[in-house]
Symmetry: C2
Subunit: 368 residues, 2 copies
């Protein structure tokens, strides 16, 4: 079992990766859970149907009673209505400030459960048990949120988990698209931190379908990158913004198609290609590198052609709602060089020009 | 103009009381508001109809543009639906993380606006401009919340304001009932902190209708009590619970009648009489003192008789949802002696017995 510690201003917690990670309910997390007057599992319906038994067995072995609340699968669970139902569930089951929640599912489940935990009676602890690769990103760092009709993750809090338990053998049941989605964030962690690591990922012909062992060690590297950034800038006043590399256009594409229609990571991969292309103007990224990235993405199964028929004007309103927008100007995370991110204001005109350039590059590199 | 500073772990802010307090938009708060890309006023409909002009004039004089969002008057604004409409308003008007909110209204408006500010894009600053006496309590200390069908203030955050601007001449238009409601929290601040101050309030035949000057100086004393407690225990792990004196039964009565039907402070006054009665068993409060408190409350216009026909069993479920409940036991803030609060677990049987004793005392002291 691998472990690393995330230290923030007000707390410190561990991230564990390994096959036997739920055994920690009987050891490291026993006190927290035994001192709680109630333990609630918020479980994504799909994750629960495959794997809930593993979590339940571990809790039973640790003699921890719990109430189960099953959430709609995926992004649907992050609606305002679902958020309020979670609170009603807790109130109707007499949860108190001394209760603890466990999130069992992908990123959406973790984001929702975290936001419920952040706001139930003004805050209770929660443990992240991510069941997807994508959640290696979202489960660490304390960003919690729900979606609004107007945009993704628009309402939320910073609320750090009490621990993150990552059991990689759950990924065996993930659909290929979900694996791809998660691996996009891994590529992101590489791109913003380490040129050599990025190169090794781009050259690995197994990508995105790594063996469990390789996957564990790669995810740990990704979490390490994220943890270091979060430790230095928990509330996203500065360098934490780098973690949004590829997300400004990515979120807009995701919102345009309707959350969940094209997966988060697929949209981020398109967004990263766009950010690389913008980095040609503001940094040292070459057109050849951007084109190689598009080919790599296409080869790995990312639907880069999804945006070919989408007009820039349809995406702009979503980009303007991005949380990094400052005084109405669009702000992007770009790369000075591989591993060296910075933030850059970009005019609407430049954004539009580069967007159509991206479409033209995709047409050139991808067989549609 | 009077001023005091509240220092919490992560921030420090000022509370100002005085006739010219909105002039601070042109001085102390000018930088915050000029650096914001958007300023939003969330105004209680009733407060706005009487006094919004004063706020608008001050903002105009400071050359600060703003968007106005009017909220339903009172507790209605604290519904989940109203919370979500506020977020939609901000998104539709392109508010960003660099925007600032101003709460203009009573406690409900401040609680809601604070919770919206706490959660919009994971947190933006807000300024409290309370328009009621009651809000001298809620505007300071960073507790924000909305109500759920299952209970009051069940969903919320700790989010400290950037400043609190208290203009006491707005109180001239408050209905008597609203004045009574606010003064209950003042009595509470006295009871939990200072026997002499409490005595001076109970002996003051003007209570609760003080002149503007007396009121300002009394409210400042109340805020000082609260600020000192909040500084030592921002997240209510210990002594901040003392501020809930009278609120366990008070909230239950308020919820039983439906929020807003009997005012918050009126319910807290009933709750404080109950807590004094419980303090006879666990502290040095005498039955005579409790009875004097009931007479005082009745004389000042508080509807102590409201609960005469209410069964304990109808209130218990609401008390069990109180945020101070621990492992299913009822926990009350009681007084060892005047000015010396402590927390005490009380059995359901004792609670019930004391409740009917309270009813009998009210019948004895109050002409119904």
């Amino acid at each position: 079992m691998e472990q690393l510690t995330v230290k923030t201003k007000n707390c410190s917690y561990s991230v564990h990766i390994g096959k036997e990670v739920y055994d920690l309910f009987s050891t490291e997390y026993k006190e927290l859970l035994h001192n709680a007057d109630k333990v609630g599992i918020f479980a994504d319906a799909t994750a629960a149907s495959y794997h809930l038994e593993k979590l339940e067995q571990a809790l039973n072995a640790a003699e921890i009673a719990y109430e189960l609340h099953t959430l709609p699968a995926g992004e649907e669970s992050k609606s305002p209505l679902s958020f309020m139902s979670c609170h009603s569930f807790l109130l109707q089951h007499n949860f108190t400030r001394q209760s603890v929640l466990i999130a069992f599912g992908g990123g959406a489940c973790g984001d929702l459960t975290g936001f419920v935990a952040a706001t139930y009676m003004r805050g209770i602890p929660f443990i992240q048990c991510p069941t997807t690769i994508l959640a290696h990103d979202s489960a660490v760092g304390g960003k919690t949120a729900i979606n609004m009709p107007e945009g993704k993750n628009m309402v939320g809090s910073f609320h750090q988990p009490a621990g993150v338990l990552f059991q990689p053998d759950l990924f065996a049941t993930l659909p290929k698209r979900e694996i791809r989605s998660g691996m996009a964030e891994l590529i992101k962690h590489a791109l913003i931190s380490d040129a050599d690591w990025t190169e090794s990922l781009l050259l690995n012909s197994d990508f995105p379908n790594f063996s469990a062992d390789v996957l564990s060690s790669e995810l740990l590297k990704g979490i390490q990158v994220k943890a270091e950034i979060v430790e230095q800038d928990e509330f996203e006043q500065g360098m934490r913004k780098f973690l949004n590399f590829g997300h400004t256009l990515g979120h807009a594409v995701e919102a345009y198609f309707g959350f969940g229609k094209v997966s988060h990571g697929e949209c981020v991969m398109i967004g990263m290609a766009y950010s690389l292309l913008l980095s040609e103007s503001y940094g040292d990224i070459t057109p050849e590198y951007t084109e190689r990235f598009i080919r790599f993405s296409d080869h790995a199964g990312y639907p880069m052609q999804a945006i070919l028929e989408v007009e820039f004007s349809a995406l702009l309103p979503f980009m303007k709602k991005d949380k990094k927008v400052s005084s109405g100007e669009l702000v992007f995370v770009l790369l000075k060089s591989l591993g060296n991110p910075f933030t850059q204001k970009v005019t609407e005109e430049q954004c539009e020009h580069s967007y159509y350039e991206l479409i033209s590059r995709i047409k050139g590199e991808v067989q549609t």
